[in-house]
């Protein structure tokens, strides 16, 4: 884990430095004069050489100091910590939503293979996977917020105004973010279930007279889970990336908005901090997926070289 993170930290450091554009200029704008820009560069430590900046940065990160964000006038760590709950709330809601619906639809399609229902689900799932997220978002806003005036256009609800406010603000962005994973879950579940339902073990269970619903939802789904878990791990990452776009459209105050602002303002320490955080969460998610595998299938043994 440590080497992975070291590579990520170094890569981000040099990649952000390769971004064209001077942060001091980006902050002060075209109206600023040369000496003002020079002053800010010094204050930001940009007048030092690149290796010097790198060593300072690594030393700071090891001490848990991620620096100050110049565009937010706040410490990077506290900024990220304050945004994580907002993004998690959005992505987890979307994921759970898509998991329940996607897996349900997938199982339904698998048990009704080659019927109208199966075809409909497959087409909808395919549409979901290939839908451009921002287009869908704008269309939904036009329909539900502007024309019908049912749901808020943007922002995050506040608990002070009641749970209804939170849910109504969550509906559109949550739905938009859920569309891609939902399609993916449905497709994966369908193919995995078709394999499992055709296997000898299921035929045995049916022969023993066990109720069909139990065969499908408990025994069938349990055996079909491994590929779904893998896809879940991937989607966790994908949804996080998708949140950058969705948050931008809905003005959701999460990590996505922070990353957008950071990149536009060439806020080096914030970009680095945010990327490092995402890398850590990816490593963490992968670990979770591996552990989950182990629970699902005791044959998976990490000490003897995995499965």
């Amino acid at each position: 884990m440590i080497p992975t993170l070291l590579v990520v930290v170094s890569l981000t450091f040099f990649l952000t430095r390769m971004l064209p554009g001077d942060p001091a200029l980006a902050i002060l704008g075209p109206e600023a004069e040369a000496d003002e820009i020079q002053l800010l560069r010094q204050e930001m430590g940009l007048d030092k050489s690149l290796p010097e900046q790198y060593v300072c940065y690594i030393a700071d990160v090891c001490r848990g100091n991620f620096g100050e964000s110049y565009s937010y006038h706040q410490s990077v760590l506290s900024l990220i910590i304050s945004r994580i709950p907002n993004t998690l709330m959005l992505t987890l809601t979307a994921l759970i939503f898509s998991l329940v619906l996607g897996v349900g639809a997938g199982v339904l399609a698998a048990t009704r293979q080659n019927t109208v229902i199966d075809y409909c689900i497959s087409v909808v799932a395919l549409l979901g996977v290939s839908m451009p997220v921002f287009w869908l978002a704008l269309m939904l806003i036009l329909q539900f917020s502007v024309k019908m005036n049912l749901l808020p256009v943007m922002g995050m609800g506040s608990m002070e105004k009641g749970i209804g406010d939170v849910i109504s603000h969550m509906l559109l962005p949550g739905l938009v973010l859920a569309v891609i994973p939902m399609g993916t879950f449905a497709r994966t579940t369908r193919s995995s279930m078709i394999d499992v339902l055709g296997s000898d073990s299921i035929r045995c269970l049916r022969a023993r007279g066990i109720r069909e619903s139990k065969v499908i939802w408990i025994h069938g789904l349990k055996n079909a889970l491994p590929p779904i878990v893998t896809v879940f791990g991937l989607q966790l990452a994908g949804t996080f990336a998708g949140a950058i776009v969705t948050e931008g459209i809905f003005s959701w105050p999460g990590m996505g908005t922070v990353i957008n602002t950071a990149i536009n303002n060439r806020d080096y320490s914030l970009i680095q901090g945010a990327v490092l955080f995402i890398a850590i969460s990816f490593v963490f998610c992968n670990m979770l997926v591996d552990i989950f595998y182990m629970l699902l299938n005791p044959k998976v043994d990490f000490e003897n070289g995995g499965h």
Partner: protein, 556 residues
């Protein structure tokens, strides 16, 4: 003439096609946009007529109460007058903190705010201000709403002088503030300074209570306290800023109980929020959002104090030759270009590197622009040694208006044999590329909008003094000793008439030197809900809610 108008039509159609193609692939607009874009193309924009929205007839008396919701494209991050950098932040500060003096409703003159009157000494070095004696600070954590006195003026101005990263107070000329008594101060300058009084209108020079500034320290940027009509209640970056009415405000009581400023980085979302009644005012609309606001009857526009221009590299490359510069200007049909770029009528044609709203503007210099004449341009190019043209670059920070400009510029110059390579990048990247670019011939020309005040200093000094050749404002590297001398004289002079004369001389010289194409004054575009009354869209796009000249109220 016929040829010219055909060209304009072809260009307009091509641009419309490009815009439509853009709509198709990005799908960012409502379906009705397609028809309006076409309409705009077949009917070249009348650039002079800006939209004033039809305010709903108020059904009676001024109504008090309600929360005014405002949407801006980028979130305010810090509202310490010393540290703020964006207009969005300045708009918040303006509600909370106040200056000695401020601009009037039309943005043509300066009126008293915390000062009641002022006088300038004969030598222009001492400014005496008499202060209001009925002004109290908003109560905060470190003081309970005490009276504002001269000592606070001294503290606040000297803080900006000593600690601000940008120069907001004519730093080279500012010396000190002398407290005469509780309600009188004298500001001493090292030498007379023409733009000084205007500088005091900069929101950075708002008067603050020392206890709060020092008590909060670095956190003052989220806990601003001043003397204004609204108090800062809460500020959450990327979410919203909440302001509430100051019960002890010295001026007229604000009609609204509070203000909420929200952020929508996606411009079409600002209009959506207005249409769905989630917001009252949407600021800084762009492109198609302007048309949507117009269709919904929400659009309110005002010409901005800004200059949108193409500047040439004055020291290197082909544009270092005055004949080439003249030829380039002659090759461009500027009227056609402006109506091609601003299809929604969101800009007016200008002629000089100075806003026409400035008191120093003299229209007699308008005619110094070389007239559109492609044949003469070709002849000039041949004379300059480029009978077959040449290749040059145009650097722009990517935005719709700038990209359309670059494409039209490329088209017009192509007609006289000059190949233009467009280099488009993010604003941050653009600024790095352009700063200091006069030193070599990589950047031959660039486009930018530059915002200023109504003092010609904010344009002519910034654009043409040789002191600024390493800043973005004069990146083309214009340097002329005589112009420097005039600019310095105008800077030191306090009499407006004499300053106008100096700036006129500078104008004549730079126009004759063909330093660039100063083509448009982009408008301020706001969307305002019909039930909002007494709103003002001013040239500087300041959010004016409760001021000496207006007091917004919302029909319930």
């Amino acid at each position: 003439m016929i040829r010219r108008s055909v060209t304009t039509w072809v260009l307009a159609a091509a641009l419309a096609a490009m815009t439509l193609a853009g709509c198709g692939s990005s799908n960012q607009s409502a379906p009705q946009q397609d028809t309006t874009t076409t309409a705009a193309a077949s009917e070249p924009a009348t650039t002079a007529a800006l939209e004033t929205r039809a305010e709903e007839e108020p059904s009676g008396e001024v109504q008090k109460g309600g929360i005014l919701t405002v949407v801006v494209p980028s979130s305010p991050k810090t509202v310490d007058p010393k540290d703020h950098t964006t207009d969005y932040e300045a708009d918040i500060i303006f509600q909370v903190a106040q200056n000695l003096v401020t601009y009037n409703k039309d943005y043509t003159d300066i009126i008293p705010l915390l000062a009641t009157e002022w006088s300038v000494s004969e030598d222009g070095k001492d400014y005496t201000f008499k202060l209001r004696d009925d002004v109290y600070f908003q109560p905060g954590k470190f003081q309970d709403g005490r009276q504002m006195v001269a000592e606070d003026v001294k503290y606040s101005l000297e803080r900006i002088y000593n600690e601000c990263a940008t120069d907001r107070i004519c730093r080279e000329f500012f010396e000190s503030v002398e407290v005469v008594n509780d309600f009188e101060v004298i500001i001493h300058l090292k030498d007379s300074c023409g733009p000084f009084l205007e500088t005091l209108c900069d929101i950075g020079n708002g008067i603050l209570p020392k206890e709060e500034v020092e008590g909060w320290g670095d956190e003052f940027g989220y806990h601003l306290v001043g003397t204004g009509p609204f108090m800062l209640e809460e500020m959450v970056a990327d979410e919203q800023v909440t302001l509430k009415k100051n019960p002890n405000y010295w001026g007229d009581e604000p009609n609204v109980d509070g203000v909420v400023v929200k952020t929508a980085s996606d411009n079409s979302q600002i209009v959506n929020a207005l249409v769905s009644d989630e917001a009252h005012i949407g600021m800084y609309l762009q492109g198609e959002s302007i048309q949507r606001a117009k269709d919904a009857g929400l659009l309110a526009q005002a010409p901005a104090t800004s200059v949108t221009m193409i500047r040439f590299n004055m020291q290197n490359g082909p544009t270092a030759d005055p004949k080439v510069r003249e030829a380039i200007i002659k090759a461009v049909d500027i009227d056609g270009m402006v109506s091609g770029i601003y299809q929604y009528g969101e800009a007016s044609r200008i002629y000089q590197p100075l806003t026409f709203l400035s008191w120093g503007y003299q229209d007699k210099y308008d005619s110094l622009i070389p007239e559109y004449d492609p044949e003469a341009a070709k002849a000039l190019l041949a004379e300059a040694g480029y009978p077959d043209g040449f290749t040059m670059t145009m650097y722009i920070g990517s935005s719709t208006n700038r990209e359309k400009m670059a494409q039209l510029f490329q088209y017009y110059l192509g007609e006289v044999g000059i190949t233009v390579e467009i280099k488009s990048s993010t604003m941050a990247d653009w600024m790095s590329a352009v700063t200091g670019s006069y030193k070599d011939s990589v950047v031959n020309s660039y486009g930018i909008t530059f915002n200023g005040t109504i003092d010609p200093y904010a344009y002519e000094e910034k654009f043409f003094t040789s002191n600024n050749i390493d800043s973005v404002s004069n990146a083309g590297g214009y340097a002329d000793d005589q112009v420097d001398e005039w600019l310095y004289a105008a800077y030191k002079e306090t009499d407006r008439e004499k300053r106008t004369e100096y700036y006129g001389q500078v104008m004549e010289k730079v126009m004759n030197d063909n330093v660039g194409i100063f083509y448009a004054c982009e408008a301020r575009n706001w969307g305002i809900a019909p039930k909002v009354h007494d709103s003002v869209v001013r040239a500087d796009s300041r959010l004016l809610i409760c001021t000496p000249f207006n007091n917004i109220w919302i029909e319930q």
